[in-house]
Every structure is written in structure tokens, then in C-alpha cells.
């Protein structure tokens, strides 16, 4: 009887530093935010007034929609560029080690730097405009534009390598035998990409898409530097309303909405990977 108890204590002692820290500085404060967003001085019952304010005030409602757009659009760009990039990276070619290290650099570049790159290249008077002017083309406005193109490009710059890293991992795991069999049966590179690599890398693509989506939903620095004055995404409203005006209950409601979205995606993501792991092991047993 004492031995299992001792083992359990050892396990708890080992888990305590990491899990305990995250409970104190992340879990409990986040739970407090959720509680504070629905509590009021007058009633014991949860009050949803701040949520109603976010959903009915046009500025915030448009902000919420803009946040969703800034999450969705970079995800699509990351898939469209990152997945073919991954398919290239897993092939064999001269300089593989070099490119394999090079493409990952944006992963560790701060997003403010990504925003700065967009400013010097694509803002009016930026280098791309000067090049285009040489051949007589005038480029559309992409910085502080209402569609947030500059924001989408800066986020995509960081997210394409992230997508490629995860998808290349899935593609590298595909057995070389499958490729050989397909080629023997007359499949070209494109057929192999569409019929073999894409379907087998789908769990990786989905996982990376969910992570890119949630990053875009809560991003603050890039939209603040490159976004239009209207609409502002919820993250920027959170900063203004909280740190500039002290309107914390409203900020907590917005924070809760974004956290619920993040946690829902996290759980969906986990359920998804669990199912694919199951089907993979099932396939191995069969």
C-alpha cells in the first residue's frame, strides 16, 4: 500500500514545478478573467451584459468579424504556399540542408519585424511601389487598407514556414515504397502530390491550420502597426479599452470570447490527432 502512494507522491513532486507554475500564472488568472466577465456587484447570477455590448455595438461587432478575417485569410495563404513548399522541401535536391535551415528563419523573427518588412517594401513609397512605377504600374494600397492585406502578408510571412515545418514532417513520414509504387504505375510528380502526399499529410495540414488560425485571431502587434483605423480587431480593442481606458470588464468579455475560441480549437485539435493516431495504430495492427 505504501509503495503506490510513494510513487504517486514522486509523480506529483515531479509534475508540480511545471504544472504548478502554469496553474498559478496562467490557469487561475484565466479562470478569473472568465468569472469577472460575467460577475456584477448587484447579482449572484452570471450577467452577460458585456457580451451583449460586444455583439451589439457596431464597432466591436465589426472588430470581431475583422479578427475572424485576420485569422482565416493568413491560414488560407499559409496552406496555399506552405503545403507545396513542404512537398518541395522533402524531395532530394542540391543544398537540402541549407534550404532546410533557411526557410525556418521567420519562425523566430518577431512579428514586429515582419510588420516592418511589409512597411519598407509595400507601404506607399516602399520599394515595391518604386519598382512598379518603373514599368508604369501603380500598386494598390496594402498598408492600413480596409481589407488588411498588409496584415495578412506579414502574418503569412511568419506562418508559411510554420505550415511547411509541420506538413513536411507529415510528408517525410510517408513511406518511400508508396512513392516508388506510384511511379511504377505511371504517376507523375503532380499526381503523387495530389493523390498521395496531400491526403496523407491532411492531419498535419489541419493541425497547422488550426494553430495558424488561432494565432491570427489573437494577434496584436501586426494589426496595430499595419491595420486600418477602422475596423480594429478585438485584440487592439482589448488593449485600448483595458490599458488606455481601464474598461476591464468589457476587455474580460472579449478575452473570454477569444479564449473560448482558442480552447475549443485546442480540444478539436486534440480529438483530431487522437483519432488519426488511433487509425494509424489500427492500420499497423491490421
Amino acid at each position: 500500500m505504501t509503495r503506490p502512494l510513494r510513487q504517486r507522491l514522486v509523480l506529483l513532486a515531479l509534475l508540480a514545478p511545471g504544472v504548478g507554475y502554469l496553474l498559478v500564472f496562467f490557469g487561475v488568472p484565466l479562470a478569473r478573467v472568465v468569472l469577472a466577465s460575467v460577475s456584477s456587484a448587484d447579482s449572484w447570477l452570471p450577467q452577460f451584459g458585456h457580451y451583449a455590448e460586444v455583439l451589439t455595438t457596431p464597432v466591436y461587432r465589426e472588430g470581431l468579424l475583422f479578427s475572424l478575417w485576420l485569422a482565416l485569410a493568413p491560414t488560407l495563404v499559409a496552406v496555399v504556399i506552405g503545403v507545396p513548399l513542404a512537398a518541395l522541401l522533402v524531395r532530394s535536391y542540391p543544398g537540402k540542408a541549407f534550404f532546410g535551415a533557411l526557410y525556418k528563419i521567420p519562425l523566430v523573427v518577431p512579428s514586429i519585424v515582419a510588420a516592418f518588412v511589409v512597411l519598407i517594401l509595400l507601404d506607399r513609397g516602399g520599394l515595391a511601389h518604386r519598382w512598379a512605377a518603373l514599368v508604369g504600374i501603380s500598386l494598390p494600397r496594402v498598408v492600413r487598407d480596409p481589407a488588411g492585406i498588409g496584415i495578412i502578408l506579414a502574418s503569412a510571412w511568419k506562418n508559411v514556414p510554420f505550415m511547411a515545418l509541420i506538413v513536411a514532417g507529415s510528408m517525410a513520414a510517408i513511406s518511400e515504397d508508396l512513392h516508388r509504387a506510384a511511379r511504377t504505375l505511371g504517376a507523375g510528380t503532380l499526381t503523387i502530390f495530389v493523390r498521395i502526399q496531400l491526403p496523407l499529410a491532411l492531419p498535419g495540414i489541419t493541425a497547422a491550420s488550426l494553430l495558424v488560425f488561432i494565432t491570427g485571431l489573437g494577434a496584436f502587434a501586426i494589426p496595430n502597426l499595419l491595420g486600418p483605423p477602422y475596423p480594429l480587431p478585438l485584440s487592439v480593442h482589448m488593449y485600448d479599452q483595458g490599458y488606455r481606458r481601464g474598461n476591464w470588464p468589457l476587455v474580460y468579455a472579449m478575452g473570454t470570447m477569444l479564449s473560448v475560441a482558442a480552447i475549443a480549437i485546442l480540444l478539436a485539435y486534440h480529438a483530431l490527432t487522437r483519432r488519426t493516431q488511433h487509425s494509424l495504430t489500427a492500420g499497423r495492427d491490421a
Partner: protein, 274 residues
Amino acid sequence: MNRRAGHIIAALLSLYALIALVIPLVVAMLWSLVNPQDGWFAPDLVPPSYSTSFWSDVFATPGIPAALLRSVGIAIVVTALTVTLALPTAWALARIPFRAKRAVEVFILAPLIVPGIIVAVSLTEVFIRLGLFGSLLGVILVQTVGTLPLMIRILTASLEGFPVELVWAARTLGASPGAAMRRIVIPMTAPGVVAGGLLSFISSFEEFEKTFMIGAPAVETIATKLWSYLGGDIIIFPTASVVTFILLVPTVIIFAIAQALVRDEDLAAGMGKV
């Protein structure tokens, strides 16, 4: 795979690297070398003349060397704290089977997925009450919320592959627990710990949102300095370019070293891939 296909792939990847990395870096470098006497205005494709005066100006600006030192100092403390907290937890997750493991893993993943602004907002009121808001310690504590999951996940991934039989073999052959630790466990797990430590260092060094919300304006790091040059009413491109390089050069060098020590899949795990 035939040679022609290989060359086409290398050419496509070079094109990608040119657009995504080389052009932005060259343009930023040109901006940092603009001569303040002449400026660099449209339609000029390169600056009319060059000088290093913005570089010397930036290093002579009183706030910058201090911000750089502070960034490095914070990153060292955050990394040390992160490694200390992560090692035992990662060991338990990698080596001990227990029932709630899946739940613990999801909980550890959560701070990587919940946006940084929410982590900062949720700590603000408590930190104000405890006097940690706008303090160096407050910044260290909030940054660790981001680096700890990264570290635990990278360490867990690398410890999972650790062949524990070697320890049993050493013990059977008469090695003391201390000797087994020193001669087997530490050398074999060191690359994972070093790679995780380097990645924690970079992730603290380049962290902006949480540092800005909890630390600003009292605690200035190199990243918040860059923000102040970009977010102001007049954007000073040459100054911002110099600060960008101060931020980028150490980050890229350390990342290159870390990449040599960590497998791609462990890196992906650290960044949130399950």
C-alpha cells in the same frame, strides 16, 4: 530522383528564399545605411549615398545599449527559470505512465494556443496589486508562461527516446546512481536541454506582446524599443532598421545552433504540434 528535378526544386526554393528573406534583409540593410544628409526618397531604387551614422547614432542613444542588456539579462533569467521548472515535469511526462497524462498535456499546450494578449490581460490586475506590474520580475514571470510549455514539450519529446535500459545496464555493472546520472543520463539528454534552452532564450529575447503589456513603459527591451520606433507618429526607417538587426542577428545565430541540436519534429512539438 533525377538530377534535373533536383535542380528545378533548388531553383524554386532559391526564388522563395529570395522573395521571403534576401530582398527584405537587403532593403532593411540599405535603409540602415542611408546617409542622413541625402535621405532615400522615391523614385530612387537605392540610396543616393551611404553612411554608418544611423548605426553609430543608435548605439549612442542612451536607451538602446541598456535595452539590449536588459533583453539579454531577462532572457538568461527566463531560460534558467524555465529549464529548472521544466526538467522534472518533462521527465514525468516522458517516463512515467499515469492516468491524467493526456489532460496534463493539453493543459501544458494551452498557453501556446491562448493569445499572448489574453495571458497578459489576465495577469494585469493581480500584478498591479502585487506591485509586479511594470517591473522586471513581472516581465520575467509573464514571459515564462510562454517559454515553459515550449521547453516542457521539447524536453518531453527528446526524453521519450531516452534508452533507460542503459541506466539499468550501468547499475548492474556496479555504477552508483550518481555515476549513472553523470556518465549516461546527463550526456545523453544534454542536446535536448541545450536546444530547449536556446529556443527559450530566443523566444524571451524576441517576445513583444506580453512584455509590452506587463512591462511598458518602465521595462524597455530591444523588442519594445523597435515598437516605439515603428508605432510612433513619425516612423524613422533607418533607426528601425538598425534596431531590427540588433534584434535579428543574435536570434538567427542562436536559432541556427539550436536547429543543429533538435530534430524538426521536436521543434514542431515545441511550437504546438501534437
